[in-house]
Symmetry: C2
Subunit: 250 residues, 2 copies
Amino acid sequence: MNNDEHVFLQKYREEDYKRPSVTADIVVFTLDEDNDLNLLLIKRRTYPFKDCWAVPGGFLKANEESAEEAAARELREETGIQNVYLKQLYTFSRPDRDPRTHVISVAFTALIPKAKLTITAGDDAGDAQLFKIKYDINGILFLAPDFTISEQNLAFDHKEIIRMALTRIRGRIDYEPDAFELLRDRSEFTIYELKRIYESIKNETLNTANFRKSFQRNYLNTGYCIDLNRKSKNTGKRTAELYAVKSEAR
Amino acid sequence: MNNDEHVFLQKYREEDYKRPSVTADIVVFTLDEDNDLNLLLIKRRTYPFKDCWAVPGGFLKANEESAEEAAARELREETGIQNVYLKQLYTFSRPDRDPRTHVISVAFTALIPKAKLTITAGDDAGDAQLFKIKYDINGILFLAPDFTISEQNLAFDHKEIIRMALTRIRGRIDYEPDAFELLRDRSEFTIYELKRIYESIKNETLNTANFRKSFQRNYLNTGYCIDLNRKSKNTGKRTAELYAVKSEAR
DNA sequence: CCAAAAGTGTTCATAATACACCCATGC
DNA sequence: GCATGGGTGTATTATGAACACTTTTGG
């Protein structure tokens, strides 16, 4: 860095530029006991959209963290969830998407096995809860055991964020190994556990023989997964062959 | 909006939150006379990275415009390019990616036919110029008629932005109709013009018969393109059948 | 007439999809 | 013993890649 540049940086005043706020929001998916796809929502304790449900997220700390780091921190603070693999989804930046001021949201998607999801509501947010995703004439509904939320009633533009996340995950599932992230145990699973994940995300029933073949081609023959040459009892009626994801690299 | 919420919004002080700056940057690709893939770069007139080359872009005006609008405006102001289809690429947000302060970049990709590219350098930026993209042991080089830039010498993290844009466009070309955006005339083109676009992006020679068949399956039979039932002279040696993109919707 | 661009047909391996059927086990 | 979850084989069709070949046209 030469001297001119040094002088310039000294003079630079941050206030010269009107800045938007930036948040990181996270769309968290998991599978419940029924193998249905679930979404994690949080009830907002503060204005704006007080008492509305929203995806977890919060303001990025400028000069301290990236959007990825902010997303990981907010998820931890609001729900207690840690060590998850976040994928950037899209950045939503309409000036009127937040009534307070211009708030730009960098949205992320996380796929988390239910076992890893011990939700503990944090300070900022209120209740954190999982909802089944149901399609309806009027759009998407989010079902809790005791009540239902319409996507129309979500805070901000979170309806669009969730819709984009669902579209993205459906589009990727057939050619990216996303499904493995939802396995209860990546180091010991059966083909049918994996099949159920695909079925939940695609929302359709798959053919057993064909699923097995494509698993062999795409994940066994490529070395992404390995056959453990062990059988697991008690999953269903018959013992099932066990497999493991080999590369921990994602 | 109830009264409580109104009072809250009144009290909200923007200064309570330290904000990052936000820019929109645009990776513009085109094809030159040799049907080589070209990238548009701009020589910076100001610090930081004065006299370095960078992709066009600039600060988003908070409370006024979205990142998409900022990208379109900056592209127009810096290069004179208008009415292009911008696709969001990724958001880069490392706190140290700009020496001034935390500057988050929402990056976009634009594919523009050369005919539409009448570059007129604007106020903010210096020269705007097209570069051939060349792969080298040391990484990617950008070739102008009279000089060469290494990706190592680009401003900010634009090396990573460009690399991601190249990866993305290569990955999408086989299953998204991106190539049509680079056609000189979407309402009158030959299969071989289209083939050359694919070859430039994939950086390999394609088989004529196979390309023709996949064009028929994916774009003629689906109704995305129509056969104009006319022949065009003078493109090469023999007259060629003309086609048109039917839907203007993208 | 001949090189280069435009266009066609045939083959082969692989992939997706459908369907019929067998095995093991808990109740 | 039979329903259910686990597992296999085979046939059909679609796709991708390779290759050999013909037609047209400007110079």
